[in-house]
Symmetry: C2
Subunit: 256 residues, 2 copies
DNA sequence: GCCAATAGTTGACCTAGATCAAAAACAACA
DNA sequence: TGTTGTTTTTGATCTAGGTCAACTATTGGC
C-alpha cells in the first residue's frame, strides 16, 4: 500500500519495448510492431513480498507470468504436507507453463523476496501466437526449455551425490545471473538453506555442511546468503569428475 | 528385412483418421478435414527392434515421433557413461519435445521391443498449428503435460522412498495401459529391472527385493516381466500413507 | 534496544538403500 | 541340447546422507 517501493513500482510500468529484460523474455526476436501487440495484452501488477503466493496449486489457470524483478520458487505438494521445490525463477523467466495442460496450476509459486511480475493472459497470448509465427515458435521453445530444465534436475536427483548437486546448483545460478548482466562470481541467494536442500533433495544440515566444506576447500566464500565463487573450475570438476574411482569396463555402445 | 512382421507393418499404414490411437494422439478433438491435413504431413516408417535407437542425444532435431505400437524409453547421459532414464513411452505418446528448444535432441530414445512410430516433421507441424487453433492448443497442452510428467517424477525422486516409488510406477503404468483399452491389472513390462531401477533412481537389487516383498504382501503377482496387480488400493495406500509415523506439528498453512 | 521466533551450524548417531558377491533362472543360438 | 551371456534373485556388508539434539547467529516486531 505505502508508496515506499517507488523504484520497483516505477520500473514495472515500463512497456516491453523499453524493458531491459526483453532479450530474455517473450519479445525476444520479435519485430517492433509485434512487440507492440504483445505489449497490449501484458498486464502490469503490483509487487509481491517475500512469502506472497503468485498462484497456488489447484488455482484456475488464466495467465502466465514473467518475473520482472526479484525471484520466485515453485513447488509441488508431496503428500503429508511436504513439498518439493521444483525451480527458482529469476527475472525474465516464465512461470505457469505446467498449468496449460490441466487448466489449473499443478504447482504453487511464491515470492522469495520483494518481486514484480508481468501477467500474460494465456488465451490472448494463444491468439497472438497463431498470428505471429516467430512468437509461436518462441512459445514452443520456452515450453521445450522448461522440459530441458526438468530433465537436468532429474539427472541431478537420480544420479548425483550431494556434493555434485550443490556444485551444479551454484554454477547454474551463476550462469543465469551472468546472463542478466550480474556478477557470475559474487551474488546473493534469495532462498533459504532449507529451500535449497528441498530443491536438491537433501537435508538442510547437508547443505550447511557442504557450504562449510566448499569454503574450507577454497571453492567458495559463504557469508550467510552472500556467495562468492572463488574457483569456478574447481566446482565444474566436482560435477564432472566424480565416479572416476570405480571405472566401468569399456562397455561397447549398445542397448542397456 | 524379412516380411514376418506383417501385422504391424500393415497397421502402421493406417491413416490418422482410421488409427485406433487417434483419441490419444495429436488428432484428438480435430475436425475431420483438419485430421486430413495433419495426415498429409505424417510419415510412416518401418518398425524398430529392441535396442534400436529412434534418435540420439545431440542429433539434429527435425521431427517429433508418436509411438504407434510397442514402447520406448528416453534417457539422458549423466556423466561417466552413466545414464538416467527419463520416461517410458507407450502407444499414442509423443517423443522429442525436449529437442525443440535447442534444435537438437537433448536425450536419446530407444525401442524396448519391436515398435513402430509415426514421424511428424516439426516445421510442417508448426505451420499447421498456426492455421488450426485447436491443434496449436493441443500442442501447448502436450508440451505442458510433459512438464507435468517431469514434475511428478521430480517429486518421486526428491521425496519418496523406494517402496513408494515402485508402487507409483506400477500404478502409473496400469493407468496408462487402461487408457489404451488394456487390462489395468494384468500386463507385461517391456523394460528390464535395471531400466526400472534407473528410472526410479534405485539399484536393480532394490527393485528385485521390492517385487518380492510386494508379492509376499499379496499386492502383486510377479512372474518375470508379467505383472498382476492384486490389490490396487493397497498400492495406492503405500504411496499416500507413509511418513505417517512421525507426525508433524499442525503447522499453519504458511510460506516455508 | 529487547525478546521471541526463525535460520543456520555442528556433532553424534542411525538407517535406507547401495554395493559386493554368488548363485539361479532364462534366453539366444549353433 | 549344451554353451554362453544376460537378467534376476538373494544374502552380507557398507556408507552417504538423514535424523536428532543442542547451540549460535539473525531477524523482525514492538
Amino acid at each position: 500500500m505505502k508508496q515506499s517501493t517507488v523504484i520497483s513500482f516505477e520500473s514495472i510500468r515500463v512497456a516491453c519495448r523499453h524493458c531491459t529484460l526483453s532479450a530474455l523474455c517473450l519479445p525476444m526476436g520479435l519485430a517492433a510492431e509485434d512487440v507492440e501487440r504483445l505489449d497490449e495484452i501484458v498486464k502490469r501488477t503490483r509487487p509481491l513480498h517475500r512469502g506472497d503466493m503468485l498462484f497456488r496449486d489447484g488455482d484456475h489457470f488464466r495467465s502466465l507470468y514473467v518475473v520482472k524483478t526479484g525471484s520466485f520458487k515453485t513447488f509441488a505438494p508431496s503428500g503429508e504436507g511436504g513439498e518439493q521445490v521444483l525451480s527458482f525463477h529469476l527475472p525474465g523467466e516464465l512461470l505457469g507453463l505446467d498449468a496449460i495442460d490441466q487448466g489449473e496450476h499443478a504447482c504453487s509459486a511464491s515470492a522469495l523476496e520483494t518481486s514484480a511480475v508481468c501477467e500474460i493472459p494465456f488465451a490472448r497470448l494463444e491468439e497472438l501466437t497463431a498470428l505471429i509465427p516467430s512468437l509461436q515458435h518462441h512459445m514452443y521453445r520456452l515450453l521445450s526449455k522448461e522440459i530441458g530444465h526438468d530433465t537436468d534436475l532429474l539427472v541431478l536427483l537420480g544420479k548425483k551425490n550431494a556434493e555434485e548437486r550443490l556444485a551444479a546448483f551454484l554454477l547454474d545460478f551463476s550462469k543465469r545471473l551472468h546472463k542478466r548482466g550480474l556478477s557470475a562470481t559474487d551474488f546473493h541467494l534469495s532462498m533459504s538453506r532449507h529451500e535449497i536442500g528441498n530443491y536438491l533433495g537433501l537435508a538442510v544440515e547437508t547443505i550447511s555442511r557442504l557450504f562449510t566444506r566448499f569454503q574450507e576447500d577454497g571453492l567458495v566464500r559463504v557469508e550467510r546468503k552472500h556467495i562468492e565463487l572463488l574457483n569456478l573450475q574447481g566446482l565444474e570438476n566436482l560435477i564432472a569428475s566424480s565416479h572416476l574411482g570405480r571405472r566401468q569396463p569399456p562397455q561397447r555402445q549398445q542397448q542397456t
